[in-house]
Structure formats: structure tokens, C-alpha cells
Symmetry: C2
Subunit: 360 residues, 2 copies
């Protein structure tokens, strides 16, 4: 957490007329409201109302069966008993980190990575090092990374495969590659040292707060104990709704639709960047919710954010994503939840904020 950035973004979120590219929220139009409503009606009609009762720490058996079957179809050796349902993917990262590492250990990360993972690693007193440097484990986001929207560097994958390093594989966006290609999970080939993490927050909705962890079998018991110590179990109601919903849903058709929506959003945001911020550097993402922008301009990205918010636009400052501070300004702009009609004006305001920063 970065208190200064946090305060500015909270303030910005309350402004009427502000355009926000911050936060990485999914498009609420994709939330399966109607189907969740049906699931809720059914769940609350059960005689003993198990949806509102305690459950075992590993979570709903039906949900774990669904997760395991899907992972098996992608080449993983996994059964329902290997799956631990977590309170979002973040908790899976937290459990894996607690089991894998001790204060002072090193974790290998991409140059730009998911801020809440970096916060967690720092809070766990881990050193952040680049891939290839000696570490206790490696953290990666296969398929589509947050913030870049790109797949893993093949050289990193090859090096990880040849190493003996435990791998924390965060697949939060892996099902949301625009080309629909589902990467073979690292845990398919490196099962004994890969901690496989997934989430329903990006593909369905974050408000249920359900993710999952498939730990290497040797660590399953320790991971489950850590889960129980952390919060006893994931929410029974959320898991019940999900399991009932998934039993009836054509999840692949849903993913195909979501990918098309986010691809179109990414393309439109790239168009706006092309028009108003053509001097900056970005690569068209392969998936996910955001575009990662790098620049040659040096300065303070929080000062840039302040200039931007003063002009009615918000974004996520790049330093939050970087393992190590850089003098060049970078930023993440999310295309996933902002009304598309605001993209052009929003990026125009962002360009003006850059100009204002330079004039200071």
C-alpha cells in the first residue's frame, strides 16, 4: 500500500466527471447477475441452509471438483482434494509466501509486477530480485501479466524449467488472453514445485472474493493449516453461489465473450494513446485489463498523478508496479471498466498532465 497514492486515488474517485483508468476493475456489464440470482434462490431454499453455515477450511467440494476438472483438462495432475479455495487469489499468494519463504529470503519477480504481490513480499521482509538471480522462489503471471498484459518471457520460462526453484504461478488473467489461447499451466510440467493460483475475480466478478490454490502435494497440509489460521475458510455463500452457477454455465462461451469485450476495450484505449500520447512507449497487450506505459521522462509519477487528477483523470503510478525505483516515469492505464466513450478525453487529459509536469 502506498498511502499517498491511495489518498489521491480515493479523492479522485469521489469527483463527478473524473475519468479513471486506475484500479483494474472488471467491466460490471459482464457480471452474471441473473444467473447468480438463480443460484442464490436455490441455495437459500435448502432445508439446512448450508450456504450460510460454516464449511471445512479447504472449501466447497463441488467448487473444488469443478476447479480440478478444469485444471486436469489443461494437463495438470490434480484432484479436488488438491484444491484449496481461498479468499481471492491474493490470499493464495499470501499462503504460498508464508509457507515458502522466511524474512530475508529473495523472491524473483518480473521488472513490472502486480503491486499487491510486491507489497506482500515486502511486508514479509523478502528481497525482490530479477529472474535469474538466486532466490527462494519465483513469482510469475502466466498468460497475461498485470500490468503489461503480456505472457511470460520465454527465456524466463526456460530458465525456471531448468532450475529447481519453487514457482508461484498467478493465473489471475491467464483465461483472459485476447487470442483465447490458454497457456499450459506451469504446474502441468512442474507440479512438485509450482504453486498454482487462480481467481474468479477477473473472469466473473470480484465481489464474491473467491480464488484458489493448488499447492505442491508435499505442502498441501501446511497450506491448508495456513488457510485456516488466516480466516478459517472462504465464504460459504460465495462458494455455494459459484458452484451452483458454474454447474449450469457455459463458462468457455462466457470467457470468449469477455475476451472479445476486453480486446475491443484494449484496442480503443490504444487508439486514444496513439492519438494523444504517441511519444510514450507501450505494447498492445495480449490479454488482461491494462496497458503498461513507459516513458523517457524523468520525474515523480505521484506528482504526475496529482496533475492528472487536477485535470479530471486518474491512473495507477508506475512505481507501484516496479520492484526497484526507476527515474523514468511509467504508468498503468486500465481499459477494463472505464466507459469507452471517455477514453479519448481521458487520455487527452493525461497528455496535458504530462505537459504540465514538464513545465513545472
Amino acid at each position: 500500500m502506498d498511502a499517498a497514492v491511495d489518498a489521491i486515488l480515493r479523492e479522485a474517485s469521489s469527483h463527478a466527471g473524473a475519468i479513471s483508468f486506475a484500479g483494474g476493475l472488471p467491466d460490471a456489464a459482464l457480471f452474471p447477475r441473473g444467473a447468480l440470482h438463480v443460484a442464490f434462490d436455490d441455495a437459500l431454499r435448502e432445508t439446512d441452509c448450508r450456504a450460510l453455515q460454516y464449511d471445512w477450511p479447504e472449501g466447497s467440494a463441488a467448487l473444488r471438483e469443478w476447479i480440478a476438472a478444469r485444471a486436469r483438462a489443461r494437463g495438470m495432475d490434480v484432484t479436488a482434494s488438491d484444491v484449496i479455495v481461498t479468499s481471492g487469489a491474493q490470499q493464495a499468494l499470501s499462503i504460498a509466501t508464508a509457507v515458502l519463504a522466511r524474512p530475508g529470503d529473495a523472491v524473483a519477480v518480473d521488472r513490472a509486477a502486480y503491486p499487491a504481490a510486491l507489497d506482500l513480499f515486502r511486508a514479509s521482509s523478502l528481497r525482490l530480485v530479477p529472474h535469474g538471480v538466486a532466490a527462494t522462489f519465483a513469482y510469475v503471471m502466466p498468460g497475461a501479466s498485470n500490468p503489461t498484459g503480456h505472457d511470460l518471457d520465454p527465456d524466463v520460462v526456460a530458465a525456471l524449467a531448468c532450475s529447481t526453484l519453487p514457482i508461484l504461478a498467478d493465473e489471475a488473467y491467464a483465461e483472459l488472453r485476447f487470442d483465447g489461447r490458454m497457456p499450459r499451466p506451469l504446474a502441468a510440467d512442474l507440479r512438485t514445485r509450482t504453486w498454482h493460483v487462480g481467481s474468479f475475480s477477473k473472469t466473473l466478478c470480484p465481489g464474491l472474493r473467491v480464488g484458489f490454490l493448488v499447492a505442491p502435494r508435499a505442502h498441501r497440509e501446511a497450506a491448508l493449516a495456513a488457510k485456516q489460521d488466516a480466516d478459517l475458510q472462504a465464504g460459504t455463500l460465495s462458494q455455494t453461489l459459484l458452484a451452483r452457477f458454474l454447474a449450469r454455465d457455459d463458462f468457455d462461451a462466457r470467457l470468449a465473450h469477455a475476451r472479445a469485450v476486453y480486446r475491443r476495450r484494449a484496442e480503443r484505449l490504444a487508439d486514444a494513446l496513439e492519438r494523444h500520447l504517441s511519444w510514450a512507449r507501450w505494447r498492445m497487450p495480449e490479454g488482461g485489463f491494462s496497458i503498461w506505459i513507459e516513458t523517457d521522462r524523468t520525474g515523480d509519477d505521484v506528482a504526475l498523478l496529482r496533475e492528472a487528477v487536477a485535470r479530471g483523470v486518474a491512473f495507477d503510478p508506475g512505481h507501484r508496479f516496479l520492484a526497484h525505483a526507476s527515474p523514468a516515469i511509467a504508468l498503468r492505464v486500465c481499459h477494463s471498466a472505464t466507459p469507452v466513450a471517455q477514453f479519448d478525453e481521458g487520455i487527452r487529459r493525461l497528455a496535458r498532465a504530462f505537459d504540465a509536469l514538464r513545465r513545472r
Copy 2:
């Protein structure tokens, strides 16, 4: 977690005809199904469907307002911004422990205490010591403890008040005293060193997985960062349902009814103990979900559990609740969720299991 006990209780829970006094589940007949249904309908009709979206890490503003107002009415100096909504009370304990203590530190606990807290403390490499011995902080359950159902020892309270020790006050059962007396929160008088923890799991239903933490103000930011590192936020849907439900509910009337139900259950279970286990020691609880039974019989409470399960009854072995092993057998029997009509037969089976253990 105790893998052996866990395996036996899981096995027992699948037996038809088994009577279980284990687990500490609330009575599902008290779950506010209808009112939650109304809340769900309303929440999912909102245009932007915020109930399914991400929220800030501290949680729902409306829910925090409700929690703060209720705490203020009990004498606490607290506003909504002091409240962090957590994924159950367990997560509040986990956050407080992470902020307060380092491996090797000592935590002062009651002689018999909540097992998931003891597990957490042990997993955090803390030493468990009795109240009065030098410690980094003290863990207590005001109002009604799990497992004893009794309020804090007044001598312990007096000693804590005179000390400078941080206090982790777990009020999970404080609103479920049979006499309806709501103890003045320790945080009312010792605000700067009391971590005030509450839950909706016992008073409403556990399946929403919502609890809360009011940290001392000096630690609020660290606690919020730990919350975010742990799982970003508590479930938005659960919090939304709760906030909408509480805005319309007569919560005090609901508590009065729940107290009456649990008091009657406790009395009936005590009757059965009187009939079949009169040689054992217990005190009629003042609140909560369970009766704590102590005996002079030495032996292995897990062996007793096996004998009991073989006879169709389950309970929670006492060693799970004890900071330090004891040769005398103790156990927790819950009255809260077992059909009352099974109490007599269940305790009769338990008495036979004791006999069988003695004959071995």
C-alpha cells in the same frame, strides 16, 4: 489444526445417525434467510452492481458506520474510519497477531481458549503463557468464552487494566450472553492498547464470513496494510447484504431471541449431562455455544473421541483448547446446532465411550 482429530471428525460427520456436539456451529434455524433474500434482490438491482465489484480494503462504509455506532453506544471512542471489516473474526486475530508480535514472543491466554487462536499463535511461533506472566500481548474472550461460556476472570481483567499490555479482545460471543448483559468493551477504557474484534458469524450466520477489527489508532494503518496483503478486502457481496440487512433489522430483538434459544439449548444439554455424566465437572455457561467439561480421568482424549464416534457421537477433544497439555481428559460439547431431541441419547453414548475407555 490437529490432523488426527480433523480426520476423525470429518469421518464422523459423514455417518448417518451420528450425533455431533462438535464444531461450534450456530443454529441454522436462526439464519435470517428471508431478510438476506430481500437484501440480495435489492443489491443486484443497482445499476453498476457494486455488490459484485471490488471495494476498498477497509470494507463497506455503511457496514463500518453501523459497527462504529453500535460500539459507541457501548462506550467506545470509535468512528467508521477506525473499523476494518475482516474475513471473519479469525482474520482480525491474524492481523492483530502479525502486527503485535514477532516469533519467540509470548502471548497470555486463558487456561482453556479458542483453538483456532491457539493454532494461529503457535503457527506464528509465539509462546503461550498464563495471564500474569510476562507477555507481548494478552488474548481474551470477554462476555462468554469459547469453550467455557463464562466471562473473564475479574482478577485477570483487573490485572490487564493495571498493566500496559496490548489486549486482543475477541468478542465473538459477547452479544450472546444468556442474561443479555453486554459487557463494557475493554476498548472503551483501554482504547490505545486494545484490539477490538467482533463477528457476525455467531449472531447472524457464518457463511457470509464477515467480522471486524478496531485497532488502536496508532496501529490502524499497519492493520489495514496487513488486511490488504492478506486478501485485499472482505467479500463485497457479503458486506453489501449485511449492511442492507442491518439497516432494516431490529438487531437487538434478534439477539434477544437468539439468546433465549441458546440458553434453552444449554439448559437441556446440562440436563443430559446431569443424567448421564454426573461424575464429570462443568459449570452452567453464561453464554455462547458450548459447555466445557473437565474430568479427573487421565487418558487420551483422541482415543475417547474414537470410542465415541464408534458409538455414534462426536465432540471436540479438550487438548485442542488447552495452551498446555494436561493428563486429565477434558472436552467441549456444543449445544448450539445439534437437534435438542438428540441431546439425551448423544450424552448417553458419550458416557458409554468414557466407560469403554476406562475398560481398555
